[in-house]
Structure formats: structure tokens, C-alpha cells
Subunit: 337 residues, 2 copies
DNA sequence: CTGAAAGCGCTAACAT
DNA sequence: ATGTTAGCGCTTTCAG
């Protein structure tokens, strides 16, 4: 294994010079830098990560804790994870993939051992048990999702309240007066993940303001449960002219079922989805949607922890503004009904 | 930060004793062990990862390189990643999430720097450019997927050739004589990922043996492309009574389209899928399928690299035997046609 | 069964 | 602009 000392000898300089060429933390003459770089290349030198971490007490690793739960839409998690990884690389960091099988104490382990310089938590719950541990270890951290009490934490999430309102506005503008929400699985609401409730709250409030009636039904996302949900909705509210779907798994079944039951989209029923762009685009018809900005969240989360590592104090709460893209699935209420 | 030395002082023993209590690499009297454990607990000691890595030249980290390509089914990648992570923990290791944005040299970086003790490559291509680097760095490694030349490598994959044959047998047993394969996107075949070709090869050979006619059409997996693929299939081969689908994205559209065009499954058309169990189960009707054993592959990959870290020499090639589960989507060819 | 001590390879003062 | 050097916290011989 090639060491820094060997590079130094080969280049005819001291160890610190090599170190500084690498880190750029002090000025080096062009000539020296070139010589050192050359030696590094010729010897095939790679700085030892452990030694570096020990000497600098920085591991250049960010821990990313992903949930194991299966009721979250997996591709979004993966997209976030990948964006976190690539963004971290832009900051010279790597990403450690943590699951919660170990329980919340994984946070303590990786932070306490200095394995990770910072922690990013995904799929944060309203009352997340990892949060106390996060505060205990005192490492820079960012949460993707919003806990009940975000004070002293750095959080990033889509503004789901505004998202709900945006959907209500869009449908109100199109003349809809009775709408229904096909929501997440009941377990998601029970778990108090927050985002689902916030969406509903924003949607209900805006709907009230605009004189729209709303009903909400959770949905497991299987074919059968979606069928049941639709039957209930149209049974209880035959005047329903629009659906807001916040459940990726239900989108496919929903559209099939509407087709099968002879309801044309958007002529008979408008559909607005809150989902990743990809889901909206590959549906038929393509869906009017508010997209989940997975990449943006992952990127910002990394930027936030990097800022904290550098001693900055970023704002506690970052709520990303939702954007609604109108596509083929929503339209005005037709005159005769 | 609590150090080992502080623990030693607190417990009234030497540093090495504390170290050995932790590693169990030499026998310690019960009394001493208890005292040390107590001090560790009371002081809240966590061994420093960097120091450990430096002194032992083992980082206890496995690098997992995931592809960025979007034509692979994401939930499977995630399932593998999570299984790798949890299995690695059982061996006292953590997992570093690497993407290929950095290019293949990421392998060199993490292995060369001692950041990772071993590397696991996902979604290996027939002629994967990461492989030469892997050999260069000489770290333990395992590949999920099969390159063209697997000599000197440790690979694990589903036996796709056998999978293809299994599908052919199942349909032959049910009396089918003309079958069609709805395959992966053309890009997957062009990229020579191997698994798609192997499936086809196994299916064709067995079909020949059993006197079945096969046609194969790639499919992008969108609604439109799936519709086009089906139209072509039934246009060219009106006598087709069964479909083998190897494309997760196409499964949903395919079933909807069959329904819409008045072809009952399985009465008019049998469908056999090669897909993750979850996809088969949440379809309607539930699909007869050969499942992709994501967890098994992840777990075995970790076990293989751990064995190599311990100096063992596991077999080069592990092909997991496919299992076909009959569900509601396949049945005998009906008499009158 | 336990202790002493020599590094592991690098960073970051402290010098000059 | 560069060199010297004292650690960083742990593992692991070598002694006893």
C-alpha cells in the first residue's frame, strides 16, 4: 500500500506538503504541486480513509437512514437515496445506507463512533423516536419529512398543506363542487406520518373557502381495495366529479377501474394525483399532478447538513412550494349531468 | 469524546484489555470483563471507527454500487440494497451506497482508500467496465448478475436460462402451442445485460424441445408501447394462447389491455410473469410467476464477500434455482378455438 | 490472564 | 512556501 510518506519521499518534499497539495489548505508553488501530483499518479497513491478520519476527526461520510416500511412508495425512496448519494459526492462525501432494523440506536452507533459526520433521516414521523437520539449525539442532521416538534431541527419537505390547497383550487377553478380524496393506506394515517394529514387539512380548508364538498377515504392501494374505495365514494356521493389521489399504488387500479365502470377521464371524472412525476407521465391518460420533488429534497437535505458541518446555521424549516402540472386527466365539469 | 484509554483508566485496566474485551480475541476473566463492560456503559463509550480502521486496516464497510439506469425495476434494486444492508449488519459491517455517476473509478476510490473492505456490484452487464477495476484493486467482491466472462469472479444471479425453460414447461404442460414473450425494453437487450437474453434462450430451447412456437417482442413498458406490442403479437400470431412477460412496468398495462380488448385471463390467454413476487400478487388476477429472489441475492452476495474477507474461496458462480408459482393467470388451453 | 508500547497513515499546529 | 513533529484512538505484537 502506498502511503503519503512514500509519495513525499518520491517527490522530494515533506509529508505535510503532500497533505496540503491534497487538501489545498495552504498555498503551494506550482512547481511543487506538479511534482507531488506526478508522484501521486506514478505511485498510484490513494489516501487512507481511516487515517484521514482519525487525524481530522471527519469521516467524509453521511449516514442516510431509510425506512423499511413497505407502505411508502419505493421508487421515491430510491430516488432520494440516489440523489443524496450523488449530491454528497459533489461535497466530497460518501453515503452510508442505514436501515431501521437495528432500531433508532443505529443513529447513536454511527454518529457516536464518528463513522458518519452527519445524518439524514428519511420518512420522518410526527413523533419519531430517532429524534431524541439525534439531539443526544449532537451531529449535524437533516430530516426529510416533518415531525410534530421541529424546533431545533433542520427539516425539509414538500409543503403538503399548500399542495392540498393547490389541488382544491385547480378543481374549483374547473367548476368542480364535489370532490373525493383517495388517500394513503389507513396505516399511514395511523402512524401519523404527517404529510397525509397536512395534505388533507390544506385541501379541506381551501375547499371550504371555495364552497366545495370533500370526502376522504383511505385506500390500501390494491386492486380490490381501490375498487371498494371507488364504490363507496360514488355510492355515498354520486355527484362527485373529481378525485384527488394521494397513493401511488392506487393510481393504476384507479384508472383501470374508472375505465371499466364506464367513467371517462376527464369528461366524467377529473383526476388529480399527488405523486412522482414518473407515475403521472406513464399513466393513461397522463395525470394532472403535483409532483413529489424527490431529487430536490435529497439535494437540499445534503446541502443543509453540509452547511451545518461547516458551522453554519441554516433555517430550521424548508417547505418546498408545490407545483401543479395540468395534463390530460382534469377538465371542466361538463354542463349536463 | 470518550476514548478507550479513558475506559481503561476508569476500569483500572490497560488499554489492550479493553480492546480485547471488545474484540473477544483473547480470553478475559469474567471479573475484568464485567468491570470493563460497566465502565464502557457508564462512560457511554463508542469505539472510534477511523482509529479502528487505521489500526486494523479493516473498515467494516462494504461498498454497494447501484446503477442509475431507469430501465431497471427500482423496487427490486431497493430490496436488494436493503437486504445487503441488513445482512451486512449481521456481520458487523455497514454499507456504503455508491452510484455510477462517478463512473467505474468509484470502485478504485473506495477500495483503494481502504474505505471499503469489499465491493458488491449490482446490475452487472455482460461486458462491465467495472470488472477490470475490481480485479485491479484486488478486494473481495461479489457481482449480482452475470458478466460474459465470470472467471476469477464471484457471481450470483437467478438462473434465468432455467427460468425461461420453466415457463416453457409450465405452458407446454397446460397444452399451449403458441406463446409470445413480452420482453424488456429494447435498450436492455442492446446493453447486453445478459439476463434477458438468457431467459429467452432457455425458453426457446425448451420450447423447441416441446414443440412450441415462440415469438419475442421487446416492450418499453408504457401503456402505448404495451398496446403496440400486443397488437403486433396477436396480429402476427392470432393463435397465441399464452404470454410470458419479463418486464415489470408492462405488467399493469398488459392486464388492463387484455381486459379492454376482451381477452379473458386465463380463459383466452394465459399469462406467466417473471417479476418480483409483489408485482405478481398485487395484479388482478394474481399472476402465475417466477419471482426474482431479490432478498436471496442480496443476502448471498454479502455472505460471499464476507467469506472472502475471511480468506475463504467460495465458488465462482451461484445460480439460484427458479421457482414457478401457479396463480390465477394461467390455465389449460380451452378446447374450442 | 493482563500490561506495555510500537505503530497504523494522516492532519494540523508550530516552526522557519 | 515548505519542513518538523506531535498526536488522533485503536490493534496487536511482545513480555510477563
Amino acid at each position: 500500500m502506498v502511503t503519503l510518506a512514500e509519495v513525499a519521499r518520491h517527490a522530494g518534499v515533506s509529508a505535510s506538503t503532500v497533505s496540503y497539495v491534497l487538501s489545498g489548505k495552504r498555498s503551494i508553488s506550482d512547481k511543487t504541486r506538479k511534482r507531488v501530483r506526478r508522484s501521486i499518479r506514478e505511485l498510484g497513491y490513494h489516501p487512507n480513509a481511516g487515517a484521514r478520519a482519525l487525524a481530522s476527526s471527519r469521516s467524509s461520510i453521511i449516514a442516510l437512514m431509510v425506512p423499511l416500511r413497505s407502505d411508502m412508495y419505493v421508487p421515491v425512496m430510491m430516488e432520494i437515496a440516489i440523489t443524496v448519494s450523488t449530491t454528497a459526492r459533489e461535497f466530497g462525501h460518501d453515503v452510508l445506507l442505514l436501515t431501521d432494523v437495528e432500531g433508532p440506536t443505529a443513529v447513536r452507533r454511527v454518529a457516536g463512533s464518528g463513522l458518519a459526520d452527519a445524518v439524514i433521516l428519511m420518512d420522518v414521523e410526527l413523533d419519531d423516536e430517532r429524534i431524541p437520539l439525534l439531539k443526544e449525539v449532537g451531529r449535524p442532521a437533516a430530516l426529510i419529512g416533518l415531525p410534530a416538534d421541529a424546533s431545533g431541527l433542520t427539516c425539509i419537505d414538500l409543503d403538503f398543506t399548500a399542495t392540498g390547497a393547490l389541488c382544491a383550487d385547480h378543481l374549483a377553478d374547473l367548476g368542480h363542487r364535489e370532490i373525493a380524496v383517495v388517500g394513503e393506506a389507513a396505516s399511514v394515517y395511523q402512524r401519523h406520518t404527517g404529510f397525509a394529514e397536512r395534505t388533507l387539512e390544506g385541501l379541506r380548508r381551501r375547499s371550504d373557502e371555495r364552497g366545495i364538498k370533500v370526502i376522504h377515504r383511505p385506500c390500501e392501494g390494491t386492486y380490490e381495495s381501490t375498487a371498494g374505495t371507488l364504490t363507496r365514494i360514488f355510492g355515498e356521493r354520486p355527484g362527485t366529479t373529481a378525485l384527488v389521489v394521494q397513493n401511488e399504488a392506487a393510481v393504476g387500479p384507479l384508472l383501470s377501474l374508472l375505465w371499466q365502470t364506464g367513467r371517462a377521464v376527464p369528461e366524467d371524472v377529473s383526476v388529480v394525483a399527488i405523486c412522482p412525476e414518473q407515475v403521472a407521465l406513464q399513466s393513461s391518460p397522463q395525470l394532472t399532478s403535483v409532483s413529489i420533488p424527490a431529487q430536490e429534497m435529497g439535494k437540499r437535505a445534503v446541502e443543509l447538513v453540509m452547511a451545518k458541518i461547516d458551522g453554519e446555521t441554516p433555517q430550521e424549516l424548508t417547505l418546498l412550494e408545490p407545483h401543479l402540472t395540468q395534463r390530460a386527466s382534469s377538465g371542466p365539469v361538463l354542463g349536463t349531468r
